[in-house]
Symmetry: none
């Protein structure tokens, strides 16, 4: 059943939209009948003419009847509407969630894949695929793509294809090496991504914590300076979002920092920034590279994070996320986000 709709969605991407549109028109007519076109249009937020075309169609299908007093459902229309109720809920559940989340989080777009990546590795792969699809959509011509580390980003890297690399791509790590295991470091991931897409990448390894003097001298290194420029002019950023404590542990943070995070109620992490539930920055890993405030300048910011366990972290980070952010998440996280 779900698969049936999925198959159709592939060939008719706007199938659900149209279905939903016609459904909501039917529903409104059922509710307000007999009702005139104008009041219905303003109620539904469509212009009069658009609504009229749809209504003409529905009339053609014998689902609504029109007379001089207004529009009403026929008995056929009433029956169909009842059958639809249940279906719609199931079918467009995810689409509704996407829209709702987009509004709540005040970001550009939300993409939800079914399932829960906490429970199934497959779902994590699906997150990756969704991300790849999204990248393909927004990449145009030459592109510099800045990426961060993390297991989710690693999953993304694994599903990239040369297809995506047909455009001219250059992958760079978004920030200096933040001490995770090599497998999930930004450097490693950007290199895998470039390999998978047959494109180029730059490495960018700088020590995690630097004093100001060292920072100043590092920045003058032409090599580093160049990469920094690349990063700041990126047209796309891919990043994960992590649970604060988990991330801190994974980075082997010092006890005093752990303490600081706990007392300040850190729940989320992204780019080496730690956020509390209000979205305030409570700690920051000092390193060279993309800074949070740089994000606003970047046209496409794609955040990928899924799993019920990450809902809090996502919520926290999204309070500071730029409005141009696209969130790719899963059903588990989405439901949790909508609950809270």
């Amino acid at each position: 059943m779900q698969s049936l709709i999925d198959i159709q969605k592939r060939l008719l991407p706007d199938l659900l939209q149209v279905l939903h549109k016609r459904y909501s028109i039917l529903r409104h007519i059922g509710f307000m009948q007999p009702v005139g076109r104008r009041s219905l249009a303003s109620n539904l937020g469509y212009t009069e003419r658009v609504l009229r075309s749809e209504v003409d169609f529905l009339k053609e299908q014998n689902l609504v009847s029109i007379n001089n007093i207004g529009m009403s459902l026929t008995s056929e229309g009433k029956n169909l509407l009842e059958d639809l109720e249940g279906l719609i809920r199931e079918l467009i559940g995810i689409d509704v969630m996407e829209l709702e989340l987009k509004h709540r989080l005040k970001i550009r777009k939300v993409i939800i894949v079914p399932g829960n990546s906490d429970e199934s590795l497959m779902v994590k792969e699906d997150l990756g695929k969704a991300c790849a699809f999204c990248m393909k959509k927004y990449l145009t011509g030459k592109n510099i793509i800045a990426v961060t580390g993390g297991s989710t980003m690693a999953a993304v890297a694994n599903v990239l294809t040369p297809e995506i690399g047909k455009k001219e791509l250059l992958f760079v790590p978004a920030r200096g090496g933040i001490g995770e295991d090599v497998q999930n470091q930004a450097n490693t991931i950007s290199s895998i991504m470039s390999k998978k897409t047959n494109s180029k990448h730059r490495v960018f390894y700088v020590p995690d914590q630097v004093s100001n003097e060292i920072y100043q001298s590092l920045i003058k290194e032409p090599e580093i300076h160049e990469v920094l420029n690349l990063i700041k002019s990126a047209s796309m950023v891919l990043h994960g979002i992590g649970d604060a404590i988990t991330m801190a542990e994974r980075r082997n943070s010092k006890p005093e920092i752990m303490q600081k995070l706990v007392t300040n109620g850190a729940v989320g992490e992204a780019f080496g920034y730690y956020f509390n539930e209000k979205g305030e920055i409570v700690h920051k890993v000092l390193t060279i590279g993309l800074q949070l405030e740089d994000l606003a300048q970047i046209p496409n910011v794609i955040a990928v994070a899924g799993g019920t366990s990450k809902a809090k972290a996502i919520k926290a980070y999204m309070k500071k996320a730029p409005a141009s952010t696209i969130l790719i998440t899963d059903e588990g996280a989405a439901r949790m986000l909508l609950k809270g």
Copy 2:
């Protein structure tokens, strides 16, 4: 509660049409790949530009890939196509048509493939595939299979696989060579079938029209006698159904015979028998081999014929066909049959 598809038929008939269009494009690409836009367009009956828009869409969806040699399905496209088959069948209402036809024609089973073999060679191949599938289903242990000639049977022969030949098969021509071009003669076809399935076959060449004396002496030839016995003990017969006049022409029938057929209103042909609309035999090519009355003794009789143009012929023949007949036809013929 109606099924999802029924609801969609009601609420989205326009989209379903598009679905069907895109499906048929995918199917044609799958069949003809790699194929160019122009030849595909003329094949499908669309203008170049329309096809192009659709193909652009399919490419966008990652279902077809385009390179300088032509268009092909991606693996995703291939998968989707397979998944679609069932959906489309339901959409067109093929299952319903199959049942209805089975009852109307009073035969054992009807199998319908989508499309119209008058318009597309592909559909003829699909007929063949459906036949192969059906054969596989009804063959058990040792089998003698009697086959007739015709372009449809040739199409069947072409799609047989060694898979089917895992059972012990012996192909024989059902009747003496009825003078068509060698390509479509029963002898040729049974030989191709045996080759394709890695099994055995017997040739059976006797002149078309024989006098009684010659018949008697021929029948005593041990070689011919043996083959005749094989034919009569066949466990399966595969045969085509032809348009009467077309067949007569193809056989270079004498003018007086043509005249006879026309005046008696012959419309269908099978096994060298010509039928009028009432199913009465109006002429018979005199030759040795399987006779119409022998069919009743044969457990599995599979008739394969498709295309709008053959509807009349099918209808005519089916009035005389044994009840054990399985008809494999296409949407074009089926619709026409149901209309009349």
